[in-house]
């Protein structure tokens, strides 16, 4: 509205300060949202980015991939039941050691069939199907920060199995540990070295597309991807705590903004009284306030969005920052809506102003 705009322009010095405050508050909330998401990603990314719909896990596994165990035959059995794409997955946490080094580096092995749909896209180098390497490993790019490059040899710390780094992928973590993708074949060898009695089995079968309802295996159940994620140890608890913190911050910040506008309304009581005496209705005046609050918060939302993504681009890779545009928009929209909602406080105050204060010297 014209009126609101003219007031904002005239009082630019005052409103720029308020705008700054708004931008900082929104930036803080967005940034924390990104960090919270990033922290969550460190737990679930390996599964979340997987192009899968269902996981077949054994009944006793409580929806946890790492404790599930399926016999080798089950894989063939399931493949014959359905037209869906089916592949295998094993997850094992171990340590890697660089050649000529003794420092142990945490790694989460994801054992997959080379070329299957659960093998992630490669950012640098080649995938697991690469020729020439006896034990290929495809690492998350976090390992680059440890000084590992394509072509290097790294050793499994307990078996001394020498892996050849064939490539890097990105955003692959599970349970706060960066993932190294290896082939199922390599994994079987690794397990056999650890325990000569090892009987080949799979942690889970990963299923995508097609007629999943035809799959029925005794002692095993299909679990949706979202359910698997929810049941990753500590994820739900961590995630809900952090989400709660973010939302409390959003609400508190928005209420602070509401109080700010309320104080400004109080300062302008006489002005509002005069406007009412001159025949402006409560509706018109409320419209002015809502327009001002709306304009200020929408502008701040846009600026803080740019600021956040700019900051994210400049941040070191080790920072667990992850923010989807859609999430950012939801957070900012909530912010704007709550701000406008909290301006109701000001509107109630304005509607109570008696225009009679315009007459006489009265309060200034």
């Amino acid at each position: 509205m014209k009126h609101a705009w003219k007031e904002l322009i005239y009082g630019k010095r005052k409103y720029i300060l308020i705008e700054l405050l708004l931008i900082l508050l929104m930036f803080m909330v967005l940034f924390l949202t990104g960090l919270a998401e990033g922290l969550g990603r460190a737990v679930i990314a390996g599964i979340d980015t997987m192009d899968a719909e269902y996981y077949l896990l054994d009944d006793s596994a409580e929806k946890l991939i790492t404790v599930s165990s399926l016999k080798e035959e089950v894989y063939e059995e399931v493949k014959s039941m359905t037209s869906s794409s089916v592949t295998t997955l094993d997850i094992q946490r171990m340590y890697l050691v660089k050649e000529g080094d003794t420092e142990k580096i945490n790694v989460m092995y994801f054992a997959v069939e080379p070329g299957s749909f659960v093998e992630p896209s490669v950012m640098e180098g080649n995938g697991l199907s690469a020729q020439g390497a006896e034990y290929p490993i495809l690492l998350d790019d976090d390992f680059k920060l440890k000084g590992i490059a394509v072509g290097d040899t790294v050793y499994d710390s307990s078996t001394d199995l020498p892996f050849t780094v064939v490539g890097f992928t990105k955003d692959q973590m599970y349970g706060h540990v960066s993932i190294g993708f290896i082939s199922t074949e390599t994994y079987t060898e690794l397990r056999t070295k650890l325990n000569p009695m090892y009987q080949k089995s799979y942690h889970a079968l990963v299923i995508r597309n097609g007629d999943v309802d035809k799959i029925s295996v005794d002692g095993a159940a299909l679990v949706k991807k979202a359910d698997v994620i929810k049941n990753i140890p500590s994820y739900t608890a961590e995630h809900s705590t952090i989400t709660m913190i973010v939302w409390v911050l959003i609400i508190i910040s928005a209420v602070i903004i509401g109080i700010f506008h309320y104080i400004m309304t109080l300062q302008k009581r006489k002005q509002f009284g005069v406007m009412k005496a001159l025949g402006m209705t409560n509706g018109t005046l409320s419209g002015v306030v809502v327009c001002e609050v709306g304009a200020l918060s929408i502008f701040a939302a846009a600026v803080s969005l740019g600021l956040t993504f700019g900051m994210a681009a400049a941040m070191p890779q080790t920072m667990p920052f992850y923010l989807k545009m859609s999430n950012a928009v939801v957070v900012l929209a909530a912010f704007v809506v709550i701000s406008i909602f909290s301006s109701i406080l000001s509107i109630v105050n304005i509607s109570r102003i008696d225009p009679i204060i315009a007459i006489g010297g009265g309060e200034e």
Partner: protein, 228 residues
């Protein structure tokens, strides 16, 4: 031949004052005809503000009625008052009370009702009040006289039946104050409006058609100016 635009009829108003009641207005009646400008004088606390508030549809009287151009506006529900104020009453306040963030042109446009856009030409009004040069100025860049004349223009923007002015010369020196009231007078005469000016400024009384005094809540007619 003139018609009565403002008729305040037997209005009384009292306030709770500690234990007892204080009667601010006692059986006050006044008629102001088209083209007339009248002053109401009185010391502070004499009920001038209360009178203006009742005549200006900001306060309801305990007893009595207010007619604007023959309509009994005091009988209207409170929700209609704001409309009466907007379209039938022109207020001029003490200390101009312009909105600091609007330029002169906007001060007028912002308060003009749509239906009066064709009736009252803003540019002509600015010209008539000799404030065309202030068209694009904020109040903070204008002199006291210019501000008050802008306030007068604002009061005229919806072609109201009556003009109510509350100490319009309070913040002006005597020359500028006199000029401002002259302008109210000529605007009223030209348009055939009725104006009531509440003041204690004796220097502008030569511009009045009639003068009243408010004393102890009673309105007493003082010297009536001779028509020549």
């Amino acid at each position: 031949m003139s018609s009565t635009l403002l008729h305040v009829s037997h209005v009384s108003k009292s306030y709770q004052d500690g234990e007892g009641k204080k009667e601010v207005l006692h059986d006050v009646s006044i008629r102001v005809d088209a083209g007339e400008i009248v002053a109401i004088l009185g010391p502070s606390g004499s009920g001038k503000s209360t009178f203006l508030s009742i005549a200006g549809m900001l306060l309801s009287p305990d007893e009595g009625e207010v007619f604007i151009a023959g309509d009994n506006v005091s009988a209207l529900p409170k929700s209609k008052w704001v409309g009466v104020r907007k379209n039938r009453i022109g207020f001029i306040f003490q200390n101009h009370q312009l909105l600091p963030y609007l330029k002169t042109k906007d001060q007028l446009d912002m308060f003009q009702s749509k239906e009066f856009k064709d009736v009252v030409n803003t540019e002509e009004l600015l010209n008539e009040l000799d404030i065309t040069s202030c068209r694009n100025k904020y109040p903070s860049k204008m002199s006291g006289g210019e501000k008050q004349r802008t306030a007068i223009a604002r009061a005229l923007i919806n072609d109201p039946d009556i003009i109510l002015a509350d100490e319009p010369t309070a913040s002006l020196d005597s020359e500028r104050g006199h000029k401002a009231v002259e302008m109210i007078r000529s605007a009223v005469k030209k348009r055939g409006k009725a104006a009531v000016i509440v003041t204690h400024d004796e220097r502008i009384l030569d511009l009045m058609d009639r003068i009243y005094r408010l004393e102890n809540g009673r309105l007493i007619a003082a010297t009536e100016k001779e028509e020549d």
